[in-house]
Each structure stands twice: as structure tokens, then as C-alpha cells.
């Protein structure tokens, strides 16, 4: 009954007129701003983004105008935020996985065509020697060709001429002395930026200190969409399967554009041994890393929680504060601290080990040592969380169970294995899965500690023996020279599926009710 009353605004509470005007005015302003953004995006041919903002704006108007959607007004901002920054990027990533989006195929077809058509070359056939004259109105340039001479109106050299200076045919050189060579050298930069335009539309630029020559577009677009190189005569056809302009011999023009490549990125992950090998290795390590982290932190956390729970121990507050410290120090700082402490040559840990045992392990260049280091650091970082959880859960176990077991003569180990563990395992299971999922994606640890090093030998993408799937994906996307976003997105999609399955299991296990 109550929810019914709550779902609708009460007719009795009429807002004031001025408030109404304010509300609608604000809304009108916001909507027109959004529409401006959508139009601008549409004009730039960013259809996906234009669509996204159109949907967001339309749903906002729908929710806020419609009285029956009153409850949705409260959740709209959060849902819109999730859509914009979680769901849309996710879909977009899955989409990128089916394209060849990368450093060499970054732009749309239209932009690539524009860029290639904007290229020019200087035709050596028409060259003009020139003289520069200084008049009271400004500089005047006089070009001397083989069969035609030109003269420009006075112009200024100072404010970097953006527009072409027009030329008119001239019979003879202007009166007065032309500038000497050293003055021309002084003005070299300004002259180099200068473009001259003849009456029939030819463009001229400076090619040497003494010459101007015509510039012409390098490529010509023909009816069928092919581009012909004016200098070499080679014709390039747009290939919408590879995303490049290609000649008959297979020569490519870069940059290319983004095209849909279907499953080819996924095929590469599976079939290309220089990718699938490292991928499987990294996948196995990611699993091992997450499992071991969960096991180690659980053992340590449960043990400490048990000790802190024990009545006989005095000074619990002190121990608790000390033991929680690794959780309290910001992770990005402690990870970097460990990076320094483990340093092979001057790190304090190797110093201690050498003095005590004469050991000097290669923490960063030996794969096994690097992996052990990561597990040590992550256990250090992660056990306090488990300890806190276990402390909470231990409190729910009835104390008389231990009393009874003590009567039967059971020791602490018996208690742990037969009472404590079975009882807390059930409420702990979803939290362990969440911890597994978190560590499966523990990007910050790897990025700050090893950066994936040491590298896997023979991999064609940047892949390290300590890389987790997330950091591997990140490196393909942002650290590889080719910035292969398509491949990275395909791998990300694979991880999405794994993590999605995990979180579904988690949801089932924790029996969340809405």
C-alpha cells in the first residue's frame, strides 16, 4: 500500500509558479546544450557517439517530463552514469574487437581520403626565379619564368600569411633595387610559409632560396574511387577488407582506415603461435596468481583472526592496529616501496639476504623469482582484508561449540578444521570468489611492480611472464608501437566473458535478493 503512495507525487503539493519556470528553463537550457553536442558530433560523422548522447538526452527528457516515471528520476543519473562509463565502453570495446582499429588504422575512410588528397608535391616542370622588393606599402615579389613573369601586390611578411597572395602577369620588373641575398636569408622562414596563387589557380611555394615552384595535389580521385599518384602514375584502389588503399601490386598507402574484420582478431589469438603461446601462458599464470593469492591471504587472515579472537591474548587493540597497517597504506605507495626494496643491486631485501645467507636472487629478471615476489607482495597487501572478514564471521560462531569440543579433549587444530572452517566457509565463499575476481584483474599491482617483466621470448606482442591478462591487454593497446586496439579489445572481450561468468556464479552463491 505504502509503496503505491510513495511512487507518485502528491497532487496537493503544488510547486510555486516561479519554481516551475526555473525548472523548465533549466531543463530547456540543458536539453539545448545536449542537442548542440549531438549535432556537433553528427556533423563530425561520429555517429556512434551522436547516437549515444541522443539516447541519453531523449531518455532524460522522457523520465523527467513523464509524471508516471517519478521513481525513475531518482535512479536516472546513476543509471545514465553506468550506461555512459561502464556499459557503453564495454559494448564499444566488444565492437572494436571486430575491427582493425590500431595506430595505423585510426581514422574513418572519409578522413583518410581527405588526408591523402591533401598531400601535394612540387612539380619541377615550372620553376620561377624571384626578386623581392621593399616598398612603402610592404613587400612586393616579382617572379621570372621562362615565358611568363608575375608580380604581386604589396603584402606583409610579418604575420605569417594564411591566405595565398595573388599574382598578376607583369611585363617587366618593378622599379627600384631588389633586396640583397642576406635580407632574403633573414626572411627565409616567412618566405617559406608563403603561398602564391596565379590567376588560373596554380599554387606556388618556395623550393630553394632562389626559386618558387608550383605545388600540385599528389593524388587525383577518379570516378570509381581510385586514387592515382600524379608523379608515378600508380593507381591505388580502396580495399575495404584490409582498410588500406592498395595498388595492383599490393603496395599500401598509409594511413589506413578502420574496417570491420570479423573474427580475425579472435582467430589470431587462437591460431598465431606467437600470440596464442604467450596468451595461454599468461592465462595460466593469471589463474595461478589469483588462486594462490586467495589461498595465502585466507590462510594468513584466518590464522591471525583466530589468534585475535582468543580470550587469553592481551593487547588486542595494539595487534589489530599493527596488523591492519598494510591495508591502510595506499596500495600504489606500498607497491612502489616493494619495487625499490626488491631491487636487485641496491634493494634492502637483497642486502639482508646476502648478509644472512649469501643469496642475491634476481627478483626482476628471473620469471620464477618475479612471480614469487608478486605473490609475496600481494599476500602482504591482501591478508588484512581477509583478516577483517574472518574476524566478523568468527563472531557469529556460537562459543559453546568450542566449549563442547574442549570437553572432548580437542586441540586447536581440531577446532579449526572441524568447527571453525566448515562454519565460516559458506558465508565466506562469495567473498572468496569476489577476491578471486579482483585479483584476476589486479592491474595496479603488475603495472607498478614489474610492468610484466621479464618478457616472454618469441612473442610478437608485448607479453611478460608476470603479466596478468589485464595488463597484457593494456600493453597491447597502449605500449605496443602499433597500438593494436583491435587485438587488445578482442582479448578484453574474452576476459569479459570469464569475469562475467564468475560474477554470475558469485551472484548465485551469495543469494542476493532484490
Amino acid at each position: 500500500m505504502l509503496t503505491e503512495t510513495l511512487s507518485y507525487p502528491r497532487a496537493a503539493s503544488k510547486p510555486l509558479m516561479s519554481r516551475n519556470i526555473l525548472k523548465w528553463g533549466l531543463m530547456a537550457i540543458l536539453v539545448s546544450l545536449a542537442l548542440y553536442l549531438i549535432l556537433a558530433l553528427y556533423a563530425q560523422r561520429e555517429f556512434v557517439f551522436a547516437m549515444l548522447f541522443l539516447v541519453l538526452t531523449a531518455s532524460a527528457v522522457f523520465v523527467f517530463v513523464n509524471r508516471r516515471m517519478y521513481a525513475h528520476r531518482y535512479i536516472y543519473p546513476a543509471v545514465a552514469g553506468m550506461t555512459l562509463f561502464v556499459i557503453f565502453p564495454l559494448m564499444y570495446t566488444v565492437g572494436i574487437g571486430f575491427t582493425n582499429y590500431s595506430a595505423s588504422n585510426l581514422l574513418s575512410f572519409e578522413r583518410v581520403q581527405e588526408q591523402i588528397l591533401a598531400r601535394t608535391y612540387q612539380s619541377e616542370a615550372v620553376r620561377y626565379g624571384y626578386e623581392l622588393y621593399q616598398t612603402e606599402q610592404g613587400y612586393v615579389i616579382y617572379l621570372e619564368g621562362q615565358n611568363q613573369n608575375f608580380q604581386s601586390p604589396p603584402f606583409s611578411l610579418e604575420n605569417g600569411n594564411a591566405e595565398a597572395v595573388p599574382l598578376r602577369p607583369a611585363a617587366s620588373a618593378p622599379t627600384g633595387e631588389p633586396l640583397a641575398m642576406r635580407d632574403i636569408i633573414k626572411n627565409r622562414q616567412a618566405l617559406g610559409a608563403l603561398t602564391l596563387e596565379t590567376e588560373d589557380g596554380r599554387m606556388l611555394t618556395m623550393v630553394g632560396l632562389r626559386d618558387f615552384a608550383g605545388i600540385q595535389p599528389l593524388y587525383e580521385l577518379s570516378e570509381n574511387g581510385a586514387l592515382t599518384n600524379q608523379r608515378t602514375g600508380v593507381t591505388y584502389f580502396p580495399n575495404h577488407d584490409t582498410g588500406f588503399y592498395q595498388s595492383a601490386e599490393g603496395e599500401r598507402l598509409s594511413p589506413g582506415w578502420t574496417v570491420n574484420t570479423g573474427w580475425s582478431n579472435y582467430e589470431r589469438v587462437i591460431t598465431d603461435p606467437t600470440i596464442s603461446g604467450p596468451f595461454l601462458q599468461i592465462f595460466a599464470w593469471t589463474l595461478a596468481f589469483s588462486v594462490f593469492t586467495v589461498i595465502f591471504t585466507l590462510i594468513l587472515g584466518l590464522l591471525l583472526a583466530n589468534l585475535l579472537q582468543w580470550d587469553q591474548i592481551r593487547g588486542k587493540g595494539f595487534y589489530r592496529t599493527m596488523l591492519i597497517l598494510p591495508y591502510a597504506v595506499p596500495a600504489f605507495i606500498s607497491i612502489l616501496v616493494f619495487k625499490g626494496l626488491f631491487n636487485q643491486n641496491f634493494g634492502e631485501i637483497n642486502l639482508v639476504l646476502e648478509n644472512l645467507f649469501g643469496l642475491r636472487p634476481d627478483w626482476f629478471s628471473d620469471p620464477t623469482m618475479a612471480r614469487s615476489m608478486i605473490l609475496i607482495v600481494n599476500t602482504w597487501l591482501g591478508y588484512p582484508y581477509m583478516m577483517l572478514l574472518c574476524m566478523g564471521l568468527l563472531q557469529s560462531i556460537p562459543r559453546d561449540l568450542y566449549e563442547a569440543s574442549a570437553m572432548d579433549g580437542a586441540g586447536p587444530i581440531n577446532n579449526l578444521m572441524n568447527i571453525t572452517f566448515p562454519l565460516i566457509l559458506k558465508p565466506l565463499a562469495p567473498l572468496l570468489i569476489a577476491s578471486f575476481a579482483f585479483n584476476f584483474n589486479n592491474f595496479v599491482l603488475i603495472a607498478l611492480l614489474t610492468g610484466g617483466a621479464p618478457d616472454i621470448i618469441g612473442a610478437s606482442t608485448p607479453a611478460g611472464t608476470t603479466d596478468l591478462l589485464v595488463s597484457y591487454t593494456y600493453r597491447i593497446a597502449f605500449q605496443d608501437s602499433g597500438q593494436n586496439f583491435g587485438l587488445a579489445a578482442a582479448i578484453a572481450t574474452v576476459i569479459f566473458v570469464v569475469v562475467g561468468a564468475l560474477s554470475l556464479i558469485n551472484l548465485k552463491l551469495s543469494k542476493v535478493k532484490v
Partner: protein
């Protein structure tokens, strides 16, 4: 409680104390070491836990004051640590206020109102939240690049982008607050509404004041999460002066440029306040971690 105690208890207690003290010594080693290193002179020197030649050079550099040594050489601070700290705090405060405001109102709707698709939205929010944002960084990068062409304060290399991007991680907070709202009796607001309050007034004047503890927890959690956020900020921010602490701190430890001592001082300087806040708030945080789940 009178427990049956075996005779060996005394030794076991002693062993536990010893074991825990040893463990704590091991745990504290890196933290003590970093404090010690921050007081040592030079960036490569190794030494004992108590510095043999104590020096304040790293601290002076971390605070942004050029350091002059005895020979008269002046060292300039390598990085603007205080500015980074300020950037981090600014971003974290603004985004946690926004997160708190938005997630409280949505949690209210989810807890108290009935509308179509409620369960579906709640569950899908939780599942989507599990996906690591690192994986959609390419898309986020493209998104902010595109928005930035039209709205300059939301583009790449702006703090606006980092703040807005952090709003995507709200689902967990919505769940936590909703769990708490569920534990408050509805009849309080019902009574207010019977007395003529609007839905909004009932929420603002009845429910909100009762929920201050959980709102505190969510604020602290959101604050800490934003301060520690690394991948998004590392992609979105470029200029040295715009970096957050989490991204900037890494700059000290590049293989070619290993400023170990300077890093130590900067780390203690910037890590200490966060650590103290965390320790001070730990009991609420622990409560908050379980509140949403237990009372759902």
C-alpha cells in the same frame, strides 16, 4: 566465560604473542625501511635502519623547496609532490561528493519505490560493476577524446574527465546504501507523508538524518577508491602538473631515473595522511564492508 583450559595454555599464549610480534616485525619492515631511507642522504646509498648520515634533503625536495648541500650545490625538486597531492584530494573530494549525492538518491528509489525493471537494473548494475575498467580504457579514451572536442573541461588531460569517469563505479555504493535503507523502518516516512510531507521531504528530513553513519562510510570508501585509482588517471592525464599522486609517484622509479631517496620522502609525506585517515575510520569501514550484505 569459563572455558575448560588445558595445562599447555600458558605456553601457547606465549608462543602466540611471540609469533605475532615476529610477524608484525616482518610486516612493518618495509614501512620502517621507507621512513629510514627518506632520511638518508643520496639516492642510491644503502645503509642500516638508523641512518648513519641523517639528512633532510629528500624531505626538503618533497616539500618543493630547492635543497642546497654543504658544497653549495643546489638540487631542484624533481616533481611537484604537493601539487599532485592537491590534485588527488581535489579529484577525490569532488567525485565522492557527486557519488554520494547520486547513489543516495538512487538507493532511496531502489529501497522505497516500486517501479518496472527494478530487480533487473539492480542486478545488472552489480554484474557490470565486476568488469575491470582497465579493459574498456580504449573506449573510455576515445569517449573522452570525442567529448573533449566539444566540451573542453571534459576532454583528455583534464581533471573533469577523471572525476566524471569515476562516477561509473557507483553500483557498489548504491547497493551498500540500499542495504542500510532497507534496515530502517518505513513507517517513519509513512507517518511524515500522512502528515502532508512530499516524497522528497520525507526522504530529505526523515530518512537522510537517520542514515548519516552509512553515508559517512560510503563517502570515505569512495574517497579512498578515487585517491588510489591508477589506470584511468594514467591514461587520461598527461601533463606533469595535472597528474594525481598515484600516477605521479611512479615517475620516481623509472629504470633510467631511480630517485629512491626522493621517492621515500614523497611516499611518506603523501601516504601518511591517507593512512591516518584510514586507521581513524577503520571501524566504520569494516562496518560498511559488511552492512550492505548482511542487512540486504
Amino acid at each position: 566465560m569459563a572455558m575448560v583450559e588445558p595445562r599447555s595454555t600458558k605456553y601457547r599464549v606465549l608462543a602466540s604473542h611471540l609469533g605475532m610480534l615476529c610477524f608484525i616485525a616482518l610486516i612493518l619492515f618495509p614501512l620502517l625501511m621507507i621512513i629510514s631511507i627518506s632520511f638518508r642522504s643520496g639516492n642510491f646509498a644503502t645503509g642500516s635502519l638508523l641512518p648513519e648520515t641523517p639528512s633532510l634533503e629528500h624531505w626538503s625536495l618533497a616539500l618543493g623547496i630547492p635543497y642546497t648541500d654543504e658544497a653549495g650545490n643546489v638540487t631542484q625538486p624533481p616533481f611537484p609532490v604537493l601539487l599532485w597531492l592537491w590534485n588527488s584530494v581535489k579529484i577525490a573530494v569532488i567525485s565522492s561528493v557527486l557519488i554520494l549525492a547520486l547513489s543516495t538518491t538512487s538507493a532511496y528509489a531502489f529501497a522505497r519505490m516500486r517501479f518496472g525493471g527494478k530487480g533487473f537494473v539492480l542486478k545488472s548494475m552489480l554484474i557490470f560493476q565486476m568488469f575491470p575498467p582497465v579493459l574498456s580504457l580504449v573506449a573510455l579514451y576515445a569517449l573522452f577524446d570525442e567529448i573533449g572536442n566539444h566540451v573542453s573541461w571534459l576532454g583528455l588531460n583534464t581533471h573533469g574527465a577523471v572525476i566524471v569517469a569515476s562516477l561509473g563505479g557507483m553500483a557498489l555504493h548504491i547497493w551498500t546504501i540500499k542495504g542500510y535503507f532497507d534496515s530502517i523502518d518505513r513507517s517513519l516516512e509513512e507517518a511524515a507523508i500522512v502528515d502532508g510531507a512530499t516524497t522528497w521531504q520525507a526522504f530529505r528530513y526523515i530518512l537522510l538524518p537517520l542514515s548519516v553513519p552509512i553515508l559517512m562510510v560510503v563517502f570515505i570508501l569512495a574517497f579512498i577508491m578515487t585517491i588510489m585509482e591508477y589506470p584511468m588517471a594514467s591514461i587520461l592525464l598527461v601533463d606533469t602538473n595535472k597528474l594525481t599522486l598515484a600516477v605521479g609517484a611512479q615517475q620516481y622509479l623509472y629504470e633510467q631515473n631511480y630517485l629512491w631517496g626522493d621517492f621515500a620522502a614523497a611516499a611518506v609525506l603523501s601516504g601518511l595522511p591517507i593512512t591516518l585517515v584510514f586507521l581513524y575510520c577503520q571501524k566504520w569501514i569494516v562496518g560498511g564492508l559488511t552492512a550492505g550484505g548482511v542487512k540486504g
